[in-house]
């Protein structure tokens, strides 16, 4: 399953998503684009720390940042998030599919036992 994915991008995406502050930033950006100052407001951390989180999110392709030198508003980018979600869905699909077949198999062998 794994070999079909672009693993480098996924690695970066999952690492970016693993941090709760970064997830909170993404949640905020889901409501619309925002500047570093606006994003820093709800968190008890420095502007620099928020900037660092934004860099990680940007490199992971989860957000894009404006080029206007002063404010550089950030906005959500759906593609990387989708890829990560797709990988997890693939993993889940493997097991859900396997358990479907296990269910069937157990039904078959129990029927066989009763016939013996």
């Amino acid at each position: 399953m794994i070999s079909e994915m672009t693993v480098d991008q996924l690695s970066t995406t999952f690492a970016a998503l693993a941090d709760p502050t970064r997830r909170a930033i993404l949640a905020q950006l889901a409501k619309g684009e925002a500047t570093v100052n606006e994003l820093a407001e709800p968190f008890p951390i420095t502007l620099q720390a928020v900037s660092k989180h934004l860099k990680v999110l940007e490199r992971a392709g989860l957000i894009a940042r404006g080029r206007s030198a002063q404010l550089r508003p950030s906005r959500l980018q759906g593609e990387a998030l989708k890829e990560a979600a797709d990988w997890l869905a693939g993993y889940r699909g493997f097991w859900e599919g396997s358990l479907d077949r296990l269910e069937e198999h157990l039904r078959d062998i129990q029927r066989g036992t009763r016939l013996d």
Binding site: I2, T12, L17, S51, G97, L99, L106
Partner: protein, 150 residues
């Protein structure tokens, strides 16, 4: 800041209409595993399955796609084997993006002839796996901070 970060976690559960001992055998005997491993559309030739069901033992299953004959191999190491209730197994990192996955399969007898399986998989990653890119960022961040403060 290169603290280990929590990995992705996936939990899948299922209630099966079979007693626990039977479910355990289906997970631990190659002849049975061959019948259900992998989603629909994949066949598991018995000769391509090896399983040493004991702590430290390895497993390897090669599945073949019915559609195009392509192969998918799953391999790992059993970490904990408690018949008939618990199997813990590691899957190694196949590629760079994670450090491997560890799965815990718990089999619970529901008391009415049915068995609940809960499969909990943790996929490990660390900030360090971001590598040099992270370190190379420090300089530009300082400049950004300066700029924001000016």
């Amino acid at each position: 800041m290169t603290e280990p970060i929590r990995a992705q976690e996936i939990t899948i559960s299922r209630v099966l209409d079979a007693p626990r001992e039977l479910v355990w055998k289906a997970w631990t005997e190659p002849e049975q595993l061959a019948r259900w491993w992998g989603p629909a559309g994949w066949t598991n030739p018995l000769e391509a399955i090896t399983m040493e069901v004991r702590p430290g033992g390895t497993f390897r299953v090669t599945s073949i796609s019915d559609a195009d004959g392509s192969q998918m191999t799953t391999r790992g190491v059993y970490r904990d084997v408690v018949e008939p209730e618990r199997l813990v197994f590691d899957e190694p990192a196949e590629d760079a993006w994670h450090e491997g996955a560890v799965s815990v399969a718990e089999f619970t007898a529901l008391g009415d002839g049915r068995t609940e399986i809960v499969l909990h998989t943790t996929i490990r990653t660390t900030d360090e796996m971001l590598g040099p890119a992270e370190a190379g960022m420090a300089g530009s961040l300082d400049r950004l901070a300066e700029h924001l403060n000016s």
